[in-house]
């Protein structure tokens, strides 16, 4: 049972960050390699809040949202938008994405080192331990947070005029701007939300893994697997993708590390990797490629026939 709960907590983190990853991909059609680092920024924001302000990491969730959101926004305004304006192609944007990732991760290292020296405490390999040894409360909080965020995001994107305009702007920028929608602002908001979500995910990361500047980057593999599985054009597909990836990884390695294979748990990343590569080669559109209407009608026809 514990394994399932741990898998759930792990999945929550992946879901929150993958939604953002899919969102940035839909907006600019470029894979955001820095997304993992946006998660780490959230983790460090929570740590800073805990150590410097004395507040519990949960209370730092809004701060983490802002910090990672701002970082994402900065990368939009300083890197992607200027390059896009200059007519940069996908390869150029990917190189820029890689460079942004290097900048963010190196900056995190600098931050960790500076804070370690100045506060004389370790800012690497930190864990959030809960008082009272209640390991499960972060599972509850992360699950509730994930559900709340998913619902709010859905309401925003489908029930508010601004959210619908955002969807319109990222789908068809020329038509949207002809209508009077500020496509640039829509893109910026999209990146802000994506980064913010990654930051929130980052708050929960140190509850289960010792966290250092590289931890979020290590998670990127799972995020890509989840986003591709859910379909890179479907923000809420990432929700399904995230839970599938998270659960299959934790449960998978639990099963594989026991008899008869006795696989070392260090091979965990192989599971999401295998899923990702198979997906990319066979079904790159992920769940979006499944024709739901046809599937449902075929299934219901089957029911009628046998009835």
């Amino acid at each position: 049972m514990n394994v399932v709960l741990d898998a759930l907590a792990f999945s929550n983190i992946i879901v929150l960050s993958s939604i953002g990853l899919t969102l940035t991909y839909i907006t600019l059609k470029v894979p955001n390699f820095a997304h993992g680092d946006l998660v780490t920024i959230g983790a460090y924001t929570a740590l800073a809040a805990a150590r410097l302000l004395g507040i519990t990491p949960y209370a730092a969730i809004p701060l983490a949202f802002i910090a990672s959101g701002m970082a994402a926004l900065a990368s939009y305004y300083l890197v992607y938008r200027p390059l896009d304006r200059r007519g940069a192609g996908i390869v150029t944007l990917m190189i820029a994405s890689m460079s942004t990732e290097v900048i963010l991760r190196a900056s995190l290292h600098i931050f960790a080192d500076v804070m370690t020296t100045s506060t004389k405490s370790y800012w690497r390999g930190f864990l959030f331990r809960e008082e009272g040894g209640q390991l499960t409360s972060y599972i509850v909080v992360s699950t509730i947070t994930a559900i709340l965020i998913i619902i709010s995001l859905y309401l925003f994107l489908h029930r508010t005029k601004y959210g619908v305009a955002l969807r319109a702007a990222v789908e068809n920028p020329s038509l949207a701007s002809a209508i009077g929608i500020d496509v640039d602002k829509a893109r910026a908001v999209s990146w802000l939300i994506a980064g913010g979500l990654a930051g929130v995910a980052g708050v929960f990361m140190p509850f289960r893994t010792p966290t250092d500047p590289e931890t979020g980057w290590a998670l990127l593999l799972r995020m890509f697997a989840a986003s591709v599985l859910g379909g890179l054009d479907a923000v809420f597909g990432a929700v399904i993708g995230g839970y599938v990836i998270g659960l299959s990884e934790v449960l998978g390695i639990y099963l594989l590390s026991g008899p008869p294979l006795n696989l070392s748990t260090a091979y965990r990343p192989a599971i999401p990797f295998a899923i990702l590569v198979i997906l990319l080669l066979i079904a790159p559109r992920g769940l979006s490629g499944v024709e739901w209407r046809r599937l449902l009608s075929r299934m219901s026809r089957g029911v009628v026939r046998s009835g």
């Binding site: 619908v164 969807r167 319109a168 020329s174 209508i179 009077g180």
Partner: protein, 236 residues
């Protein structure tokens, strides 16, 4: 006079596609722009909207020189362009598409949408459907509706019946005629299907290889056997 185009020469970048085109359109009139493939029909209307490069000439909208204005500035003045493709938001529902079309309209949006649905009733039962699930004809109707929501003064339709089956194409053309009757709007209709277009137009402009070969009464064009059989595939 709603729209006056004077000796327009335009194209893409430095490439010249159309030369010395002139015509005018009054409110409530329907002008068909016809011609074989590659004759510059699309380029002409794009240039009028500012989506192609104008090399020389003038475009006057209600007397104002709008030649150098950006597309969205022209849109704000009431010139609405419906492109041939990518003219709806596929992942949004029909209702969301209509709401988006009226993005800049305030409280009167719901009323306006009602009015437009009166003109295009088949859309009513499609309101909850995502645009990508619509058939070609339904999509064109939606694109038309989206243009109408904005209460245009000038409506430019770029090959609305392309890739539609004949009965559907006829229906769309019929709807366009209806729109012309009930709305106070000038329409420029770029069309491959000359016969259909001429059946509802007042005036016609025939383009061949970037040059204006005929501009005048639509019916008279049909009786010009040299032009109509050569360029329009129409037996008069």
């Amino acid at each position: 006079m709603l729209l006056e185009v004077e000796e327009l020469t335009a194209g893409y970048g430095d490439i010249r596609v159309i030369e010395d085109v002139s015509f005018s359109l009054g409110s409530g009139e329907l002008l068909a722009v016809l011609g074989p493939n590659g004759s510059g029909k699309s380029t002409l209307v794009k240039a009028v909207m500012g989506l192609a490069t104008v090399h020389s000439g003038r475009i006057l909208f209600r007397g104002e020189d709008v030649t150098r204005l950006k597309p969205h500035e022209k849109a704000r003045r009431g010139m609405v362009y419906v492109p041939q493709m990518n003219n709806v938001f596929e992942r949004l529902t029909v209702r969301e598409n209509l709401i988006m079309a009226g993005y800049t309209i305030g409280d009167e949006l719901q009323d306006r949408i009602e009015e437009v649905l009166e003109l295009l009733p088949p859309l009513r039962r499609l309101m909850g459907r995502k645009a990508w699930t619509l058939s070609g004809g339904e999509r064109q109707m939606l694109a038309l509706a989206m243009a109408l929501v904005r209460s245009p003064e000038l409506l430019i339709l770029d090959e609305p019946t392309a890739s539609l089956a004949p009965p559907v194409a006829e229906k769309i053309i019929g709807l366009i005629a209806q729109i012309r009757e009930s709305e106070d709007v000038g329409i420029i209709l770029v069309e491959q299907n000359a016969k259909l277009a001429l059946s509802i137009s007042d005036e016609a402009l025939l383009m061949v290889s970037g040059k204006q070969v005929y501009m005048g009464d639509a019916n008279k064009l049909l009786s010009r056997s040299d032009l109509s059989s050569l360029y329009l595939g129409v037996r008069s």
